[in-house]
């Protein structure tokens, strides 16, 4: 009898202790689905939509080029190249998902251009079509091959310098780029499991990619840290410390400063949850503000410092490597400072979410 009473007593005790454990108040801040929705729809998909549209415009103009071989048309194509380059560089803060898994990145942005093989392809008699370019290595297509063809090695290629084969190549290359940007945009919005839905439904039982919302947020954070590292310690550092302009990525178009600034803007876009420079409540910034308002201000400030320092480098980046080394050094320092804050202050805070 006593033992039976003891059993009941113990059972009650266990029952009570289980329920008292689960009785803790649910943290209202631990549901991040609105943030993930904003980042996906307002930043990532919007950026890829913009990229796809602009790659389409460039492709249309390149198609017209053989019948309209004027300097004005060439200048227009160059501008359209810069326009398309902008959303691409602004997407480099989130180089995860289809762009990585489906191997799309190398087809869009391989660097440097493989001039040796490009000359060999131009010298061959193979028909230059989109399908043919699709089959080539990444270093023979994408943004930088287009840049090389449009601007020339010194950035001053004239209309007369274009051969018929180069025009064929240019057209196919722009079509191939458009094909890739379309594939990328589509992979986020449609198909049996659009990646946008995967990111937005992080933590739901059916989600096999992100088992928790926290892991999705960490993917976003890792993305912006990676690009800060790449700009500071790769894109700026390599040509700068070796004083070697051939290591500068967008040299032919003198677009490097714009590239770097857009890379930092990709950090800003993810951090603000918008692409227009305005702060969105459901964003990483909104989340951090509730945890550590001082850190939030510090990050916003440092993003701006880095962008300003890059833009303020006098002349082109190519010239500045030797003529304005202090300005380049300052830009690099500001980007590295941003990376440091993201890694040493923001990341630990994320780990505690």
């Amino acid at each position: 009898m006593i033992t039976t009473q003891l059993k009941y007593f113990l059972s009650f005790g266990i029952f009570f202790s289980i329920f008292s454990c689960s009785d803790e108040p649910v943290n209202p801040q631990s549901n991040y689905s609105e943030i993930l929705k904003t980042e996906t729809n307002q930043v990532i998909i919007l950026t890829y939509y913009d990229l796809n549209e602009k790659a389409g415009l460039l492709s249309v103009r390149c198609d017209e080029f053989s019948s309209n071989k004027t300097q004005a048309h060439l200048d227009l194509m160059r501008q359209l190249w810069r326009d398309a380059r902008k959303p691409w560089e602004q997407s480099e803060g989130f180089l995860f998902g289809p762009v990585d898994i489906q191997g799309i990145d190398p087809s869009i942005d391989s660097w440097p251009v493989n001039v040796i093989d490009l000359d060999a392809v131009l010298a061959s008699s193979d028909p230059l079509t989109k399908e043919y370019l699709d089959g080539l290595e990444g270093t023979l297509k994408g943004f930088h091959t287009l840049e090389y063809l449009l601007f020339g090695i010194d950035g001053n290629k004239s209309v007369q310098e274009f051969t018929d084969r180069q025009i064929e190549y240019l057209k196919a290359c722009a079509q191939s780029l458009k094909g890739e940007t379309n594939k990328l945009h589509t992979a986020w919005i449609s198909g049996p499991s659009p990646y946008g839905t995967i990111l937005k439904t992080a933590g739901e039982p059916s989600n096999q990619v992100y088992l928790s919302q926290k892991s999705a947020l960490q993917e976003l954070l890792d993305g912006i840290i990676t690009i800060a590292d790449e700009v500071g310690n790769g894109k700026i550092n390599d040509p700068f410390v070796t004083n070697n302009i051939t290591l500068e990525e967008s040299r032919f178009s003198a677009n490097s400063k714009q590239d770097f600034a857009d890379n930092i803007r990709s950090i800003q876009n993810i951090y603000f949850g918008s692409t227009d420079g305005n702060y969105n409540l459901n964003s990483l910034s909104g989340l951090i503000k509730t945890k550590d308002a001082a850190l939030d201000s510090k990050i916003i400030n440092q993003i701006q410092e880095a962008i300003t320092a890059i833009i303020n480098i006098p002349g082109t980046f190519t010239e500045a490597i030797s003529a304005n080394r202090a300005a380049v050094q300052n830009a690099q320092d500001q980007v590295r400072q941003l990376q440091l804050i993201l890694e040493s202050e923001l990341k630990p805070l994320f780990d505690k979410l």
Binding site: I101, V113, I116, V121, G135, L136, T139
Partner: protein, 428 residues
């Protein structure tokens, strides 16, 4: 509604063939030779060591590069190979063979910078378990006097390098470039191998092994990187057959042929290719060693079915897979010949230390033919001349040096000149 029946047929055949070879043929012999096995515990330490065969070999090389296409290539020292081999004669008929290889002297993940194929992308080269791996691990059973069956991870009987793979057996600082470029280095696979002799002069090998994984194929190396090493387990959805036949006049004088054939579609990490991709390889080799000189040569031909569709499927592979994703040739072909002289042997009384002077020529093209819209890149047509010296102060130790001039099939920046020297040891 159409009901899809499981594809039991092909699997069943594969399993049946493998099982019957393993348990049928060997099993019968085992039953017949029950008396053959002696329990280990009754043996003394001396008897044990008599049955153990220990071998260790390795090579360290220094390379100085002068490559026109890649002028910034830095000089290197590479601990290319260190192998510990342990064989144990379990009984008169059963033998265990193992080789543990330490590649590049360590474990872990190696960061590669490949400017030639991908023009400047960093890549992590991850090999299973770092770069220490069990190259060979098999049991063999001698079923008749001159015939044995091996199973486990076996050395593939294809080409010259598989038979002359120790640094004291080849004269360059690495194997000949033809094999080194196109075939998996130290090519071993899981499977069953039967080998032996017939007649007075014939040696044969016949095997069934796991096939290659086509996601690793690329422009520069054809099928080399299809040898499955990336994942913890090896896929065996596709099986390859291999056959080798040698006519041996006497020791170290032979010529022979070998064939390899296997699909590379179903061992891919994902089922992302919907056509077959059969890899067919054939080679002819000769080796003649005389007192004062030797000649070694081989010709290799490779064919890949549906290479265009395979290349397009590879292009969509994840960056995380660390594969090249470059367009694969439909046909690869090449030729290699090496002539070596022992100048001291010309004066018989000076032959106490061995000195070899050698010269070799390699020609190969991994884009001998391409398919459909795949660009036939002339850069993959390579001519290589090598001159070198090998000096053996003892038969276990060799000092090597060589100069290699490689010419790529492009019109400018086509020369890649490499000076190498190193030393190798072999204790057995």
């Amino acid at each position: 509604m159409k009901i899809q029946l499981p594809r039991i047929g092909p699997y069943f055949i594969k399993i049946a063939v493998l099982s019957s070879m393993l348990f049928g043929s060997v099993g019968l012999q085992v039953l017949n030779a029950q008396t053959d096995s002696t329990p280990l515990k009754s043996e003394s330490f001396n008897q044990l060591t008599q049955k153990l065969d220990f071998e260790a070999y390795g090579i360290i090389n220094y390379h100085a590069f002068n490559w026109q296409l890649f002028p910034d290539k830095r000089n290197e020292i590479d601990f290319s190979q260190a192998v510990i081999g342990l064989d144990y004669q379990i009984s008169d008929r059963w033998k265990f063979t193992s080789e543990l290889e330490f590649e590049h002297g360590g474990t872990g993940v190696a960061l590669e910078f490949d400017p030639l194929e991908e023009f400047g992308e960093f890549e992590y080269e991850v090999e299973k378990g770092g770069e220490i791996w069990l190259e060979e691990f098999n049991l063999s059973y001698q079923w008749f006097k001159n015939h044995a069956i091996s199973f486990g991870r076996v050395k593939l009987p294809f080409g010259l390098a598989s038979f002359y793979d120790e640094p004291t057996e080849y004269l360059g600082t690495s194997y000949n470039q033809l094999e080194n470029t196109i075939l998996p280095s130290n090519w071993t696979e899981f499977g069953i191998l039967v080998n032996g002799k017939f007649g007075k002069h014939f040696n044969y090998s016949l095997g069934m092994v796991n096939a290659l994984d086509g996601s690793g194929f690329n422009s520069a190396n054809f099928i080399k990187r299809g040898n499955q090493r990336r994942f913890e387990t090896v896929k065996i959805e596709d099986i390859a057959g291999v056959l080798r036949l040698d006519y041996e006049f006497q020791k170290d004088q032979l010529f022979g042929i070998s064939f390899y054939s296997g699909n590379s579609r179903n061992n891919r990490p994902k089922p992302d290719l919907n056509v077959n991709a059969l890899v067919s390889l054939a080679e002819f080799h000769t080796y003649f060693k005389f007192k004062t000189f030797s000649i070694k040569s081989m010709a290799l031909f490779g064919h890949l079915q549906n290479s265009e569709l395979l290349s397009l499927a590879n292009r969509n592979l994840s960056n995380n897979l660390n594969v090249k994703r470059t367009p694969v040739g439909k046909q690869a072909a090449g030729f290699n010949a090496e002539f070596a002289l022992k100048p001291l042997a010309l004066f018989t009384n000076m032959n106490t230390k061995e000195l070899y002077v050698f010269s070799s020529f390699d020609y190969f093209d991994t884009h001998q033919k391409t398919e459909g819209s795949i660009f036939n890149n002339p850069r993959w047509k390579r001519h290589i001349w090598t001159f070198g010296i090998n000096y053996f102060p003892t038969k276990w130790l060799v000092f090597k040096s060589q100069f290699e001039n490689q010419r790529l099939g492009i019109s400018e920046k086509k020369f890649q000149r490499t000076f190498s020297m190193g030393f190798a040891f072999n204790f057995s």
